[in-house]
Symmetry: C2
Subunit: 185 residues, 2 copies
């Protein structure tokens, strides 16, 4: 029962947001009785913490650490495929980390901390690729790699959010062109 | 009554999100009876459309079009003061456009369109400053000004979202350093 709830919750949270998802929505999506929810989770926040953790684990971050091929094309491929894969699986509902960054209320401190930690894990993986690119002489900007990685991910999340609200996925293509044609040179 | 509801709704939407704000929350914040809400608005979405429109009108965009002083410092000042002013007025709840970009469900098409239009108005104002900077010889990147403006605003929104979820406002300072020290040169 627990894994059925977890397996179906990502879609619910993406479609309805953290605030808009009720326990009823979550058990309906899993096809389990409402009473069983509280056998496994103290509440919606605990489930969302687990979903956030999985989102990052399934995010392909390890691929960024693999020193094979040119690092900047590998970073671009990582970001493009992350966006494409989640779009194919869940539709135009954006990134869970981005949605939760703006949409989790202050009283859910554990969930906010998990989202922030997920962004930092992602930052570390992007920073590793940027540091490798610098070593290889492919990146000339001398900004600290972690600061630059955060900059890249903040823009990526912002572009996904704009694509979501405008329904225009071309904004993401433009974002890639500027990131890899202007910023990371 | 209508203006009392509108005047108090921004804070409610920022603190609780679109999905997390009930009509009851909105009338409580205004100190008016619940029944009066529907005399003025068909529902929560219509009120949120009006709040979004006002957010942009009050956003100081006209200052970006005033050709006085160096355009890039004027753009930086616009963005820094937008963030600081809203933080001072509403607290660490982020930007209404950013929060609504990720947090408005697909069925609220009018509100999504209003948010997207607000981002485009802001884009146009930032693009005007960037075009002026290019004319003045202060900006050498040859990316289309509107594409570059969207890139800047997407990053700004992403950095604000990260600052919100992490509770770390320093990420915004780093974002400014990269934008004006590395990207817009």
């Amino acid at each position: 029962m627990k894994s059925r709830i977890v397996d179906n919750a990502t879609r619910v949270f993406l479609e309805k947001g953290f605030q808009g998802s009720s326990i009823q929505d979550l058990v309906d999506a899993a096809g389990v009785p409402k009473g069983s929810f509280y056998n496994h989770f103290s509440g919606k926040e605990e489930l969302a913490v687990e979903i956030t953790r999985r989102w990052v684990v399934d995010g392909g971050l390890d691929g960024l650490y693999v020193r094979s091929g040119a690092p900047l094309p590998r970073l671009r491929e990582h970001l493009e495929s992350a966006a494409a894969r989640r779009f194919a699986e869940y539709g135009p509902h954006g990134c869970l980390l981005g949605n939760f960054s703006t949409g989790v209320p202050a009283e859910c401190g554990r969930l906010r901390a998990q989202v922030a930690a997920g962004l930092e894990q992602w930052t570390a993986a992007v920073a590793a690729a940027l540091a490798e690119a610098r070593e290889a002489g492919d990146l000339h900007v001398d900004t600290d790699a972690a600061v630059l990685a955060r900059y890249v991910l903040d823009g990526f999340e912002g572009a996904i959010a704009r694509g979501k609200v405008s329904g225009d996925r071309a904004v993401l293509d433009q974002w890639f062109d500027v990131t890899f044609g202007v910023l990371l040179v």
